[in-house]
Symmetry: C2
Subunit: 198 residues, 2 copies
């Protein structure tokens, strides 16, 4: 087999160039570390291409992504724009504050914003951080997600992170990586620390 020639060529009517530059849906899932970190690493590549980047953070807590947010915002100042959305500031997947219905409404509002931005082609790379959870909890309809992603216009790459990705999302995705924990410092009595966990 010649180097670089794919094993299977799909009968999708696309030329090799079209297929090569097809915008991707990428999912980082699994119980291990690095799902979001790798997504933000991808954003560095997008930034270097001059692509506008939209981050939609379905966050655990405000502090968890401060390093990435500060760095990407700084890059946005000197390169293509980086817009950082936090779904309902203070919204927590631990369901500590507010009612569940509040959180569901926040998540749906975030998803509606994503739909508007996809339709408007606002960004070239979208990072939907921890987006698997509101789908898992039934707050956002998976059929709406798959239809919206499948029919999105232009060349918008979408990276979705979080555990327990819905099977329909995995079926739709072009690239799925599972992060598995082999060993973790918290196993030996270590807690999170600055510069590493946030």
């Amino acid at each position: 087999m010649p180097q670089g020639k794919p094993e299977h060529v799909p009968e999708d009517g696309l030329t090799t160039r079209q297929r090569r530059n097809r915008p991707l849906v990428i999912v980082h899932t699994g119980p291990g570390k690095g799902k979001s970190t790798a997504a933000f690493g991808l954003a560095l590549r997008a930034w270097n291409q001059g692509w506008p980047i939209g981050v939609f953070q379905f966050v655990k807590s405000a502090k968890w992504r401060i390093g990435e947010e500060a760095a990407l915002r700084a890059l946005g100042e000197i390169g293509p724009p980086v817009v950082w959305h936090k779904m309902g500031e203070g919204w927590s997947w631990i369901k500590k504050a507010g009612t569940e219905e509040d959180h569901a409404a926040d998540a749906r509002e975030g998803w509606n914003q994503i739909k508007r931005d996809l339709a408007a082609e606002t960004y070239r790379l979208l990072v939907l951080d921890e987006f698997t959870y509101p789908i898992k909890w039934g707050w956002i309809d998976i059929d709406d997600v798959t239809t919206t992603l499948t029919s999105r216009p232009g060349a918008q790459h979408v990276v979705i992170t979080g555990r327990d990705a819905h099977p329909d999302l995995l079926a739709l995705a072009d690239l799925v990586t599972e992060m598995t924990k082999l060993k973790h410092p918290m196993d030996t009595g270590q807690k999170g620390q600055k510069g590493i966990e946030w």
Copy 2:
């Protein structure tokens, strides 16, 4: 069990704070994507902490990390220094150019630089990208690696990426994540593309 309390507390003579801030050896291994990308994502957190960052790239080809390199170099201009080392420019793990002995010598020279920088505490975060390969090929002695890492002074975090991490390296590491491919666009005839693969 109270929240945040680790299940096992090791008898290492350290206080909780000392253990908490213990510098880490982190390994990203496995056949999936995201090993290096997540390492560079970690560098964003380090940057935001004001930590000097050293990247030692045991590279496949010059183009593969250009996005991360450009973005981190740009961040290094406006924040803590980011120093990017490429082992023997043009050095390739595919062993295309040069003799194997040339490559081994390049890799060893890179490792010697890392040892000097660890001894001098030049950086607070070191990314040893694809460092598992020269170990695997016997170019760099694993005992030298484990001894050097174990006895490194100060609070230097070290992230090592690459497939087939040596068992001794895994045993030494504080945090090991395995990236597994569940699905890849090249399976369906797609090749790498800018902004995503580099």
